[in-house]
Amino acid sequence: MTAAASGLRGRNYARNYWPFLLPAGVVVLAVIVFPWLFTLYMSVHEFKVGGDFTFIGLDNYIRLTTDDRFLWSVVRTLYFTALSVILPVGLGVAAAIAFHKKFPLRGLARTIFILPMMATPVAVALVWTMTFHPQLGVLNYLLTSVGIPPSQWTYDSVSVIPTLVMVETWQWTPLVMLIVLGGLASLPVDPYEAATLDGASGWDMFRHITVPLVWPHIIVATVIRTIDALKAFDLIFVISGGGPGTSSETMNLFLYLQAFSFYNMGYAAAVTVVFFIIILLVSLLLFSARQQKQWQ
């Protein structure tokens, strides 16, 4: 068969596969693409539920730049995200290295380890809330019984975000572990054999073979973790509700309040757009960090 004929065949095939995409494509248009276009439309209008759309240009966006409550929610989101990425990624990589070794009951231990990320977030959050109770909670009992002063946990504006980070870390370290474990499992054996023959130590091999080879997986895990931390909602909503006051009100909670407590739909739509841009920028930033690391 000539190259031209096989090229033609390939093109025809590509076209023939489109009917497979059609039904899903219609649904994706309806529940994903259309809401986005509608959000963009709403964001340049003044609109409250039950009222009319009034075109106001970029006023919603301009209002955001002077809305202190929104700006603080951005700062809090970045603070929460930074901690909720560093801790799970650090712990998750360590856990992946541990679970990569063979040991008795490894399958069971790994399954228990991933239970927090599979469990229903609301159910988990409710029980965490009980453990944070300053007087009756089990955590303060455990702290004082080993001589550490009790904490106010989510009842104090300074400790509330670190406490939420702790729960977020508990819940999402397993996802980092799984992604990195997938990377470790796909490592080739040849470089290790060669290095062993050359007399390299375990630490040398780890630093110069394992880390560079697994690095892309660590970056992917970091990006996914960052996106998820930026849009964290269930845990914060249930455990602190953004409080005390507004001290744990992140962007997502601010968005929820604007949309479904105050019914400022136009304004909330503008928040959504800005939120999406921030998520996109942070993801791109992390991916470019990956590129640079590879060129070095």
Binding site: P35, F113, A123, V127, V138, Y141, D234
Partner: protein
């Protein structure tokens, strides 16, 4: 040398225990709260082991609430959204993998990146205009935002990994693409479909945010119902922990039973809903 290795093994064992104890202790504490009476739950220092364990909290959950209705709601929404997603997403995954349609995959990925709330604002308004609020359909439809991307994403990976030869042989023998898909690719992809189904179901079952906004009193799913228990009744830890345990038990059991499939799916895609 031998002694050093033994010490190393003990150290490694302790490290593994340290890694899994936050999960074990948490779920044990959840179980303990759900099996104790109210006096023991409010005791300080806390009572760790229920003595004797009582089922009153679980009985209270069913007696004082419409728990059965909420369970049926959750089943309808999660099974419906997962079934529909398989129907739509498996062929789509096949099409994207074969046609190498990277752009179509990227659109799907946007759903993974954006917060669930961003879909809710427009969809909420549309459901209001269509007067669909008060039924379970808005919930089922919005849950497609979670389940369809998961299914498509997992299936792309599986179909890309399948050997081309069998399918091409079928095509050369005169089968249509649909026949090749139905009789060759689909049976081979069964493990992938299982993975996609489990993950889509779990993340739909766990979803909270869509229900909070869209569900009315009668159409609450379980996560929303269990959250509302604290808002309407005075806080009582026993029944609340029992309800929380009941909501999450199916998911925990599924994870324990299907751990291989779940680990496989999550490692491949890093999927997560909402």
């Amino acid at each position: 040398m031998k002694k050093g290795k033994l010490l190393g093994n003990i150290g490694f064992g302790l490290a593994i225990i340290a890694l899994i104890s936050p999960a074990i202790l948490f779920f044990l504490w959840m179980l303990s709260l759900s099996l104790k009476n109210e006096v023991d739950n409010m005791a300080f220092p806390p009572v760790f082991i229920p003595n004797p364990p009582v089922l009153d909290n679980f009985i209270a959950v069913f007696e004082k609430n419409d728990f059965l209705t909420y369970t049926l709601n959750s089943i309808f929404v999660s099974f419906g959204a997962t079934g529909l997603a398989l129907l739509l997403g498996v062929p789509a995954g096949f099409g994207i993998a074969k046609a190498q349609a990277g752009k179509a995959a990227a659109v799907i990925m946007i759903a993974r990146v954006t917060p669930g709330l961003s879909y809710l604002i427009p969809l909420f308004l549309i459901f209001q205009w269509l007067e669909m609020t008060g039924t379970l359909w808005p919930l089922l439809i919005t849950h497609l935002v979670i389940t369809v991307p998961i299914v498509v994403w997992v299936m792309i990976g599986f179909f890309e990994g399948l050997p081309q030869e069998l399918e091409e042989a079928a095509l050369v023998d005169g089968a249509t693409i649909w026949q090749a898909f139905l009789h060759v690719a689909l049976p081979l992809a069964r493990p992938g479909i299982v993975v996609a189904m489990i993950l889509a179901f779990i993340f739909s079952w766990n979803n909270f945010i869509f229900g909070v906004v869209l569900a009315g009193r009668e159409t609450r799913t379980l996560p929303v119902a269990v959250y509302n228990v604290i808002s309407f009744e005075q806080i009582s830890w026993g029944p609340l922990a029992a309800a929380a345990l009941l909501v999450t038990a199916p998911v925990l059991l599924l994870t324990l039973l299907m751990q291989k499939e779940i680990v496989h799916g999550l490692t491949a895609g890093g999927v997560k809903g909402g």
